[in-house]
Symmetry: C2
Subunit: 185 residues, 2 copies
């Protein structure tokens, strides 16, 4: 009967649970560094979820005055919030992750492009993927030192991105090989 909240709400709840006592501003930064890779949220949205979560009584907000910076609100999960988080984590996940790729969409219509355009589309995709590989590798390196359960989870999440990007780089190779091969048929 709980009106079906979006996963984003639980994402923010989980983040506050993970980083208690952080301000909205800090949470935006942490979200950008952590789960943004598989669950991006904008600043506006995060602040909206903060309001919702306090309204629901799942997190509590406390005003903190600062000397060398503006005053801020800090957040913590309540007992009710932690229970809700645990319940959400226990519910089976609708496995299908939503995915939209502008590259693949264009590639799907590549028969309407000049071969050079297709080549440059693939080249751009390759460098975007290479950047991803760098990014995920850097995250894993940074977390390699830590041995907490949270760090282990983060490392494996990054590994998921890494394996995905690597496989797609391999695909670029295959696609390029196939396109060049067809010139001689």
């Amino acid at each position: 009967m709980t009106a079906e909240l979006p996963d984003t709400t639980y994402a923010v709840l989980g983040l506050i649970d993970k980083v208690p006592g952080a301000s909205g501003y800090e949470l935006v930064a942490v979200a950008g560094r952590s789960f943004a890779h598989f669950w991006p949220i904008s600043q506006t949205l995060l602040y909206r979820e903060l309001d919702r979560l306090t309204g629901l009584g799942w997190v509590s907000a406390a005003r903190v005055e600062q000397l060398h910076a503006p005053s801020k609100w800090t957040y913590q999960t309540t007992a009710a919030g932690r229970q809700v988080l645990a319940d959400w984590l226990a519910t089976p996940t609708p496995g299908t992750s939503s995915f939209r790729s502008g590259v693949l969409l264009r590639f799907f219509f590549s028969y309407r492009m000049h071969p050079d355009q297709v080549r440059s589309l693939l080249a751009d995709y390759r460098s975007a993927l290479a950047a991803q590989v760098e990014e995920y590798t850097a995250i894993m390196d940074k977390l390699a030192a830590l041995s907490t359960p949270a760090a282990r989870a983060g490392r494996l999440a990054a590994l998921h991105g890494l394996r995905t990007a690597e496989a797609r780089l391999q695909w670029v190779e295959e696609a390029e090989a196939q396109l060049e091969g067809d010139h001689f048929r």
Copy 2:
């Protein structure tokens, strides 16, 4: 000055260009079978784009009366529409594909779960990925016979999905191995 239309508009435009003379109903079905895997759109949205495209003069609509079924509208790209499509295909793609994964989001908070819950999360993910492998393999098999440029593009798009799903299955293996290994530390 062309007001920045969403990629979905061009997706539908490209589809009409690919399957000229199809009805909205048929286009919904074709979209579901083809680019839905990397660019899903609902029926309502597709019909809305049909209105927009005719309004822009990029496609023309013709009423067709049928004997054994209700009358229908059929669509074709105009010369202007084909030009717009070519222009869109020529513009560099903002490489970053948007991706949201409920599985990874939960996994990111897996340190708040019982080990059995993590196991079942991974198991569910594995079977979802296995289903994807089946799906993409089936598409590639179906297109293997055809040697048109469009079929080749579709086959490679499916291969992209296949390679991605395979890599993620491999990741599930790695994740499971790591979780079980940690029991003895």
